[in-house]
Amino acid sequence: SSHEHKLTFKKSKEVCLSYIQDAMLQKQWKRAAEFLTFYIESLEKDFSTEYMGPSEMIWRIGTEILCHHSHSSMKEFNSFIEQMKTLGVKRYLKVCLEHAFHLLCNGLIDEAYQNLSLAESWRFGEQTAIQDKEMKLIQAYRGLLDYYSWSKQKTILLEHGQDGFEDLSVEQEMHSCFRKAAVNLREIIKIPGVWDLFVKCYVDLLEFYGDHNEARQVLNEYAYNSKFPANPNAHVYLYQFLKRHGESKKSLISALKILHDIVPSHELMIDFNMMLQKSKKRKKRRLGLEVIFAALDYAGWKENVKAWSCLARQVKQIVNSEKHLDWIKQEWNSRKDWWPAFHFSRYLAKRNWQDNESLSCEKALVAGILLGKDCKYFKYVSHQGCKARVKRFRILKKFVNKHNPAYLRISG
């Protein structure tokens, strides 16, 4: 007898599940709900020898349907999730955590807080230890919500302060929120991972209460501890902190160095280049040139006037000093095959001139030095600029003509 054709309970439910999946993929929520209704009985004791594990499936599918179905309400969703929590002890904290997320996404902050607090107090033999990760996350998110309360109270306090009111109870509550938040936030950021939001909030708290040392330590850990995954934001936060506290250019530069390595196209590369250009150290100025060229390799910077003006300024400075033309040559070497079409085509010349005179002026200077005064870009823009009798274009033309030998040295 052909047992493949035998319709068993297991097969019947598998087929049902595939109907649910099809319906969900096509966003037919009513149909998905209909088939889910028939799938649900797979939760009851299955007397066959094969284990199906439907409870996770039902949790996830049910959540999706309730999220998208037009007739479902928050109340229904909550009642569904409460039932799901009783289904599997091994999944309890995960379900609680995702429930809290859902509440937060729907703006129900207080309910989310209650859920998280309740979950925090859950104990279940050895499961508590096994689900340690989820527990830490739950505590971390509760800490985040404590921060949020703290922040609200801080705002109230500041407003009252302005009006001349003193509010002792608000202040006390604020400090209590701070303590609760700080404890949990500090714990989670110890674990290697990406905790951007938590770090920011924690640092905010520390700065408010004047604990700058701790804040700096936290940010350094987050940015430089090799156990943590490479995270450009970590360096951005550190840089912003150092800047806020008036640290030296040296530490600011060192904070941005790794950011340049990870994300050469980052928006802070402009600041970085400006600091490096002005440095007295030759190595730093060299790095500055590298940084700005690297940023302009990316399409997102193509029409950024500031970036081009940084490059133009540095190129001008180098050409004027007649020292270190080899720097430009080195940078240009790997770019001379594709930058002309990427940045300095005739089409771009026309477009830049039409859209943004300043942009075209800065770019023309760079083009004139890198590609010579006979290149399409420079010729077009300088011609248009001089025709329009704009002063700076006359200056531009003179400069490039004067320094043509520099071009020859770079290209040669």
Binding site: T8, C16, E44
Partner: protein, 290 residues
């Protein structure tokens, strides 16, 4: 029988619901009454033979041509269900007679007797119809369409005198209906509810757990049932012998009962024979089963 069980007209799944109170199921009894799959034809058939032998039953009443299980009767039923012309019934009877499978001794079940063939009446009747179709239409995926085109031509040019049977048209109609019905059946399969209000449990200890779980299942079913949109379907239809039915009253010409086989027959020595002289035996080897 299998179909009636699956459609719920015959108690099979959760039969214990209908037991009186004193017949409480527990422990190993559960394994017997807890159904996890639908019965399969072969299994039921073999069990039937075993049971008949075990009970030491005598020879069953003779199956004559007025019995429902006789190939002549079954062929008529299946021809109707397959929407094939009534005329084909003459041919099935001819084949049955020719190969002597209409004899009472051949058809009647004698339990425990190893020398008589055990006949699967439904399969036999279906096989006869297939053989008849092959005799008349060859079914080599070429000839039958050729014949159909001829019939179509004739039907176009000759409106009176009844239609000739067009194989192609028939195939399209029946394939469509089959596809629709299959799709419906597949969805029904996916929607079977196997559990019932009175769940089974191994022991009294497990009872409360099982009942709690049952309650949750019912709650969830209600919750998502409400979100299903359309109203629940009406009660299950009455049991019917036929899964597909056709009506000659339909004006769209989708019923082929009255169609004629004239286009594919010829008269030879006073007998009607098929125009097709060949028979296409498309098996690699002959069946060895006794």
């Amino acid at each position: 029988l299998c179909r009636f069980v699956v459609e719920g007209h015959i108690p099979y799944l959760n039969v214990f619901q209908h037991f009186p109170e004193k017949m409480k199921l527990c422990g190993l009894d559960l394994k017997i009454f807890c159904v996890e799959s639908w019965p399969v034809y072969e299994e039921v058939y073999n069990k039937m033979l075993e049971l008949a032998a075990f009970l030491d039953l005598p020879r069953f009443p003779d199956i004559t041509d007025s019995c429902f299980l006789h190939p002549d009767m079954l062929c008529m039923k299946y021809l109707m269900e397959a929407n094939l012309p009534d005329e084909l019934h003459n041919w099935t009877c001819r084949v049955v007679k020719k190969i002597c499978i209409g004899e009472a001794d051949f058809l009647t079940l004698v339990p425990g007797n190893k020398s008589t063939r055990n006949v699967k009446y439904d399969v036999l009747a279906a096989a006869v119809i297939v053989v008849v179709l092959k005799l008349l239409f060859l079914l080599d995926d070429h000839y039958e369409w050729l014949l159909s085109d001829f019939a179509e031509e004739r039907n176009k040019n000759n409106k009176e005198g009844g239609s000739y049977f067009e194989f192609k048209k028939w195939y399209k109609v029946i394939k469509c209906s089959l596809d629709v019905e299959q799709k419906r059946l597949d969805e029904e399969k996916a929607k079977y509810l196997w559990r019932c209000e009175k769940p089974l449990f191994y022991s009294a200890k497990k009872k409360s757990k099982v009942l709690k779980r049952r309650q949750m299942v019912v709650n969830l079913q209600n919750q998502f049932g409400k979100l299903s949109g359309s109203a629940q379907p009406a009660e299950k239809p009455n049991p019917s012998s036929f899964q597909l039915s056709w009506s000659e009253e339909n004006t769209d010409g989708s019923c082929f009962y009255g169609h004629s086989l004239k286009g594919i027959l010829q008269e030879k020595c006073g007998l009607l024979t098929a125009m097709n002289p060949d028979y296409w035996l498309c098996t690699v080897k002959l069946c060895t089963e006794k």
